[in-house]
Amino acid sequence: MRVTFLNVGVRRTLFACAFVAFMIAAAGNASAELTATANHDHIKIDFFYHGGTVSVRGVSDRGTDLIIKITSPEGHEVLRQKGRLAGLLWMNVGKLTFEKVPNLYSIHSTKKLEDILSADEMDKYILGYPALEKHAEVGPVAGEDEKTEWFNHFVKFKESSQLYSTSLGKINITEQGGKQNYYVLLEWPYQAQPDHYTVSVYAVKDKKVVETAEAHVLVDQVGMVKSLAGMAKNNGALYGIISILAALGAGFGVGMVFRKGGGAH
């Protein structure tokens, strides 16, 4: 298992400079028992970035179930809503605003959430899509049923770009004395935008969260990617002129090459 991880890890982390590999993030803070460490606390987006993997490992009390949640800060999203017009044509019929929703939400647990946690606890820690739905505000909708319906469409939309995900039984646990070591290797989607991400680990017993620990992952752009994105945002006029000149130059350049190459006229 460890060997597989290294192979996959080494291959997938070519995008990041070697020195960031296995740097230790903020360690568990809630208790002396539960700890959480992410192998990358800083994911750097350069030209060749295509996502990667993040592994989370730590120690928890023997016999506890574990839930690992990765989220970005809460924000709001405005999406276009499709509906049937005159019962025939699919059109954009309006806009829906989703408040208090993270851009990335990824939940991994040792067992089904409903089997190991009470509904109150799930809501308290916003664990699982139903809890996130209760926490989120969706508008404009007529009543709770419509909220649920559109929230489900929202989850489907996010899952289609790998930003929302859930998994069951992916967390690997090995017992050692009175403790257990856990380890999980997660795909980090390239669609996840530059942001500060929080990895929260919950130790669960008797349908209650008994301990929590946190680690952080920073995703940001570096080098040329950062300069170009910054210029596009902060100096639109110059960026536009450079883009146009480059296109004109390329057009003429290729035209000249073809004239020399063709020579028929």
Partner: protein, 305 residues
């Protein structure tokens, strides 16, 4: 090899944009269209946000149409005078169209009007071009001369002031005619959010009666200027142009446009019209299917259209 796109905030395999550029550039060089009506939906399909797809496409069309205009100009197939009149109209039309969208948005059924305009314009243009060009391919040259009897429209055009001769195209029109139709295409293009090449080409062929090969070169020339304007405005106001994506696209499209221009010279005007008509009709069918088949996602990213 994957490359990260700093504005689109996503990663794409380089073969995808280069290949798309090559294919759409080829059509551009052949028919004098920008190809936005093909490229933008394709880019969205490959995970590029819709607003970035449209803005970046206009950036790469600058390159493809420069390459194409240059190739057509070398063999004397660009009517600059006609191009300038059409541009003047198109520019005015664009301003009017943007205001029209604001009104439609305020009325709340913008999407319906835009989609319907798109389907009808593509459908009418495609069908008319197909029937007309297939018909004239069957006719003998002697019969063609008989059919050019003056219609009431032609008589009306001749009665307008500011008559001027367009040497390259070999036609005489009032300057008001290209300006008016340039404006009309500009309004429609702005409403539909496309460059409008597929509308401008039939206008030049059927209304301005220009020869097909000059139409292609002249269309590319005016598309070039339109797309320079759009690229600048998109960069300046919306920050939606992805330079890296544009470079990947233009690597393919500039070469495609040259190949298209060379290949186009080997085809007859009628043959070009038939192929363009088939492509336009295929796109129409695709849009109609999108409108009627159940979509996989009922929520999409906001902005643009």
């Amino acid at each position: 090899m994957y490359l990260y796109l700093p504005v689109a905030l996503t990663s794409i395999h380089v073969f995808i944009p280069v290949g798309l550029g090559l294919a759409v550039g080829l059509l551009s060089g052949l028919f004098g269209v920008g190809g936005g009506f093909l490229m933008t939906p394709l880019l969205i399909m490959f995970g590029i946000p819709s607003t970035v797809a449209a803005a970046t496409d206009s950036n790469q069309i600058v390159a493809a149409s420069t390459s194409g205009t240059y190739a057509h100009w070398r063999v004397g197939n660009v009517d600059f005078k006609m191009g300038f009149y059409l541009l003047a109209g198109g520019f005015t039309g664009g301003l009017v169209g943007v205001q029209a969208i604001k009104v439609l948005n305020a009325m709340g059924n913008a999407d319906f009007v835009i989609k319907m305009t798109y389907v009808f314009m593509l459908g009418i243009v495609g069908t008319y071009m197909l029937i007309e060009s297939l018909g004239s391919m069957r006719k003998k040259p002697s019969e063609k001369a008989v059919t050019t009897k003056e219609s009431s429209v032609t008589r009306f055009f001749k009665s307008l002031p500011m008559q001027t001769h367009f040497e390259k195209s070999g036609v005489t029109h009032s300057a008001l005619v290209p300006i008016f139709f340039g404006t009309l295409v500009g309004v429609l293009a702005a409403i539909m959010g496309v460059g409008g090449g597929f509308l401008m080409v039939p206008v030049m062929v059927y209304i301005l009666r220009m020869p097909m090969h000059v139409v292609v070169g002249t269309s590319l020339f005016q598309i070039l200027f339109n797309c320079i304007e759009v690229t600048f405005l998109q960069s300046y106001t919306n920050h939606n142009v992805d330079f890296i994506l544009a470079v990947l696209l233009l690597l393919g499209s500039t070469i495609g446009a040259q190949v298209g221009a060379v290949f186009g010279r080997k085809l007859k005007g009628e043959q070009l019209k038939v192929i363009l008509a088939v492509i336009v009709l295929a796109v129409t069918v695709k849009i109609v299917l999108d409108l009627t088949l159940n979509p996989s996602l009922l929520l999409t990213q906001g902005g643009g259209h």
